[in-house]
Amino acid sequence: MTDSPANDEREDLQNAFSRRRFLQTLGAAAAVSAAPAIANANAKTSEAEKITIPPATPLGEVKNFGPGEVDVKLKINGIVRTLRIEPRVTLLDALRDRLDMTGAKKVCDRGGCGACTIIMNGNLMYSCMLLAVECQGAEIETIEGIAPEGEFSTVSSAFAKCDALQCGFCTPGFVMTITHHLRNEKNPTMESVKQSCRGNLCRCGTYNRIFDAALLAATGGAGLPNTTEKK
């Protein structure tokens, strides 16, 4: 019985179990777990890299969440897309399987590797840890949206220039993480870069070149070649 909450807390808990409150809590809980997880034994959060927990996602117009398919409106890279999917579909599966936006990769499907990293309302998130229904009303940014068609973002170009990739399967996730870091950190350093991508795993073993690419991109990528697509 030592694990039971105190009586006053228990009352709060019962109040909390309305359907709506449950979903709001789910939103917050999912957001917490979707924030970059600490993948390393040695990880520590620096002052500059404190994880901000976004507020519960607004639920918009949707009244019912299944069972069965529901209409889900997602604003991705500035464009609203409507999907008819079950509420259990993750944002990652919505992107990859329904919208053919396959830049975000499915690797662990449980918030352990960062290959599916996207930016939502300015926060770095694991799209495998979000349900698509709870992302309605949010500004979702995927790797497909960080550069106009036929062009490449400074970060992507820096990755290519530094050979900050081998098989490339973790790369879009790292590119999103570094993009987010450089937007939010005015004075990026080797240490801040390492801290920023502690929630992304690379298997081929190319981290050190990712750090180099991030620092190159931070300089504005002056002199970066290959900024237009070679068809």
């Binding site: 993948a39 390393n40 034994a41 040695n42 990880a43 079950e86 259990r88 579909v89 599966d93 990859r96 399987d97 396959t102 830049g103 990769k105 499915k106 690797v107 662990c108 499907d109 449980r110 352990g112 590797c113 290959a115 790797i143 497909e144 550069a147 490449f152 973002s153 992507s156 170009s157 990755f159 290519a160 220039k161 050979d163 900050a164 990739l165 081998q166 098989c167 490339g168 399967f169 879009p172 590119v175 870069v193 390492k194 801290q195 991508c197 502690r198 929630g199 992304n200 795993l201 298997r203 081929c204 073993g205 190319t206 981290y207 050190n208 070149r209 990712i210 750090f211 290959n226 070679k230």
Partner: protein
């Protein structure tokens, strides 16, 4: 077919600065001179960004996992949830009743044995992944359970449960004695008489490949113009043509009916050869359901059934006298899962005097081992490098001085010198745990070394390249092999452009379509030395064909023309020249298309092996047992360096994976339930950004003369010596040896405690 005349002879300058030899090779009339130390390169050897870097870094590269088609179905595999037993019933009716489920298939039948938790039993496909998962859960399989054994110690005991067939889990012992005339008695005598002796047991763990793109593929059936079925499969594979063969065999199709495509693949590390179960499931269910099917494993399945590196237990006796190793006697066994096969390789980098190796494998109720980057070598090297270090220690010799006394290979000597300079080897503690580097605080630093070798120079084996030159100046090279992330696409392009003389920016390379000419499966570090020579040969053939075609329009004898630095010119009047684009325009409506088979390897060459030396600096917290790698210097050669950037990335990857093997990775099996406990990526540890040391990679140039490009394989040797180097650095920092991988804090603390406390 006219028989080729090999009367032409060329002299090659081979080796490296300070160690150059001249060798003569015989060449065919139409063969260009092989690349050697005298070759002046326009591109090769520079830092060149990989051709597909931007496609990958922008998320636009389409991997097999990313292929989507209208009406495509998603498949899931039903897997055994017990480690050992017999199937008494499989009922798929519940799955088939679910709306959206389109087809099911059995992978096992009633009465079949399952031999590990996670073995495939049936498969289902449905209109989306969520329904497919429902269907997977609705398949009811019942078993007659049998006792299991999931670790070597349990499976090798007398009376242990039988894992698969037969009456024992142990394979017969193999005994190898080298040199052959040495008797077992002599081995024992040599050990007894040695000045310095090591007798110890070493353990290495089971490691899973954990490629980020899981196994599997997408299958799509169509009909050709005569109405015959055709099959296209996008596979995540290291062997596009071996997948092709597997599909043809499984589905009774001929090669003309099947194409395998793998333009991009998310890592394999040895586990992705042949048509694997999910790929065959995709093809079979697609046929049954009449729609394209995607079947990719999830992360848990990948750990359970996607392959692994076997563990090893080594019992070693070794001795040295007068600074020379005189005997190395090892018994090694381990488990490759239910299929057995668990060899470890204690590569004979060093002259061992006399050696005896006794080896056997023990079957366990675990997923089958597959080849993993330098199969057998990292585990063998972890043992060998520590043994060699301990012998040096006992002889009061510097470990590198001792190694050089027992290593005849000239290149490694030069590599040791380079590495020692880059890490400042003079800082090394003269005695383990004592010295300025170790310091007096609880965090102690030390340096350790490991050496590597490999010997892969590629094969002819029917590898060919197609080169197409268009009137717009564009050049395309095509080969059906795959780029597993090593940069194969890029080094093919560089070699072809170098041989042809066209500007590199005009070069495109199409890989991973099996309707293009044959290329090798990426195993044994065979790809680079095979395809670079092929690309050079084909680039040269394309040049001859191109010059022949345009010579008529220029009214100049083709033999008088040459191409270099993006210009076509008259050899005896170089002022008379045409830039690449103008020359290509002369083709008009024509194209030049050449398919050329790779030339044979040469017998005259510099060295049969490649070298490699790594030195690690570590910091051991003697209070917590945590080991941090501070810096690694890695010097590797692999013949001619084609792209220095991707060459260095290969070394970087080898070091990081080697460090991961040394400190983090470990498949944990629960003996009671027979299940893998850490079948994910958060508790199956691979290092992250904060674990990264400074890594200095040195691409050590050499001209080896083995093939027309002079290129050797690099992928595997880079991963071999890291764990041994780190183990030796830990010993140098602390004065204690950790003889079990991964070298986690508990083991470090236990070793310190055995020695008498943390300081």
């Amino acid at each position: 077919m006219t028989k080729k005349n090999y009367d032409r002879e060329e002299t090659l300058k081979l080796g490296f600065a300070g160690n150059v030899v001249e060798k003569k090779v015989k060449l065919a009339d139409d063969q260009a001179k092989p690349w050697d130390l005298d070759t002046k390169f326009q591109y090769a050897g520079k830092h060149i960004p990989r051709f597909d870097g931007l496609a990958k870094a922008s998320g636009r590269a389409k991997y097999s996992y990313d292929m989507n088609f209208p009406g495509m179905l998603h498949a899931r595999i039903v897997r055994a949830n017990i480690p050992n037993g017999k199937i008494t019933d499989i009922d798929v009716s519940g799955a088939e009743a679910i709306p959206g489920v389109k087809a099911t298939m059995l992978l096992k039948k009633v009465g079949d044995r399952v031999r590990f938790d996670g073995e495939g039993v049936a498969a289902v496909c449905a209109t989306n992944l969520e329904i497919a998962e429902d269907a997977m859960r609705a398949v009811v399989v019942t078993y007659e359970k049998m006792a299991h054994a999931v670790i070597v110690d349990d499976a090798s005991k007398d009376g242990a449960p039988i894992v698969d067939k037969g009456d024992t889990n142990k394979s017969p012992e193999s005994v190898n004695i080298n040199p052959r005339e040495v008797s077992e008695d002599e081995i024992n005598k040599r050990f007894a008489a040695a000045d310095a002796k090591v007798e110890a047991t070493y353990r290495t763990q089971v490691q899973t490949h954990s490629a980020l793109e899981t196994h599997g593929g997408v299958a799509k059936w169509d009909k050709d113009s005569s109405g015959n079925p055709t099959l296209t499969v996008w596979a995540s594979t290291q062997g596009s043509f071996s997948v092709l063969d597997g599909l043809c065999g499984n589905l009774k199709l001929d090669r003309s009916q099947v194409e395998v495509i793998c333009e991009y693949m998310g890592g394999g590390f040895g586990a992705k050869f042949g048509a694997d179960q999910p790929t065959l499931v995709a093809a079979n269910l697609a046929k049954k359901a009449g729609a394209p099917v995607k079947c990719m494993l999830n992360r848990k399945e990948e750990h359970l059934a996607g392959g692994n590196r076997p563990d090893s237990i080594h019992h070693v006796r070794a001795g040295a006298t007068d600074g020379k190793i005189v005997v190395f006697d090892v018994t090694n066994y381990g488990t490759g899962g239910y299929t057995g096969g668990a060899g470890a390789r204690n590569i004979m980098i060093y002259d061992m005097g006399a050696s005896r190796k006794v080896e056997y494998a023990v079957k366990t109720n675990c997923g089958p081992a597959t080849a993993m980057r330098a199969p057998g070598h990292p585990q063998g090297s972890f043992v060998l490098e520590q043994v060699v270090d301990e012998l040096a220690e006992k002889l009061n010799m510097d470990p590198i001085e001792f190694r050089l006394k027992n290593d005849r290979y000239p290149m490694r000597k030069a590599q040791y010198e380079k590495a020692m300079e880059l890490i400042d080897w003079s800082r090394r503690n003269k005695k383990g745990g004592e010295g300025a580097l170790a310091g007096t605080g609880p965090k102690k630093r030390g340096l350790g070394v490991g050496a590597s070798t490999w010997g892969q120079n590629g094969n002819r084996d029917g590898t060919a390249m197609a080169v197409i030159i268009n009137a717009d100046g564009g050049v395309e090279v095509r080969n059906g092999c795959q780029d597993i992330g090593t940069g194969t696409r890029t080094i093919i392009g560089i070699c072809a452009a170098e041989a042809l003389g066209c500007p590199l920016e005009n070069m495109k390379v199409r890989l991973g379509h099996t309707r293009d000419p044959y290329g090798p499966a990426s195993g044994g570090s065979v790809t680079a030395p095979t395809v670079t020579a092929a690309a050079k040969d084909a680039g040269h053939a394309a040049k001859l064909a191109f010059l022949d075609k345009i010579s008529k329009k220029l009214s100049v004898d083709a033999a008088k023309l040459d191409i270099s630095l993006g210009k076509v010119f008259v050899k005896d009047d170089p002022a008379k020249s045409w830039n690449w684009h103008d020359a290509c325009k002369l083709l008009g409506v024509e194209t030049v298309e050449v398919t050329k088979e790779r030339s044979d390897n040469f017998r005259a060459n510099f060295s049969g092996q490649v070298g490699g030396v790594q030195i690690a600096e570590v910091e051991v917290d003697t209070e917590t047992g945590v080991v941090r790698v501070i810096k690694v210097v890695a010097v590797h050669d692999a013949g001619l360096v084609i792209d220095r950037l991707t060459f260095e990335s290969q070394i970087l990857g080898g070091v990081i994976q080697g460090m991961s093997f040394a400190l983090f990775e470990n498949r944990v099996m629960d003996r009671k339930s027979g299940k893998m406990l850490n079948n994910n990526l958060e508790s199956y540890k691979i290092p992250g950004s904060l674990d990264m040391p400074e890594i200095v990679t040195v691409a050590f140039d050499i001209s080896n003369g083995h093939n027309s490009a002079g290129v050797a394989g690099l992928g595997e040797p880079t991963v071999i010596p890291t764990a041994g180097a780190i183990a030796n650095a830990i010993a140098n920092a602390t004065g204690v040896r950790v003889r079990s991988l991964p070298m986690t804090p508990d083991k470090v603390l236990a070793a310190l405690a055995a020695k008498g406390g943390s300081r």
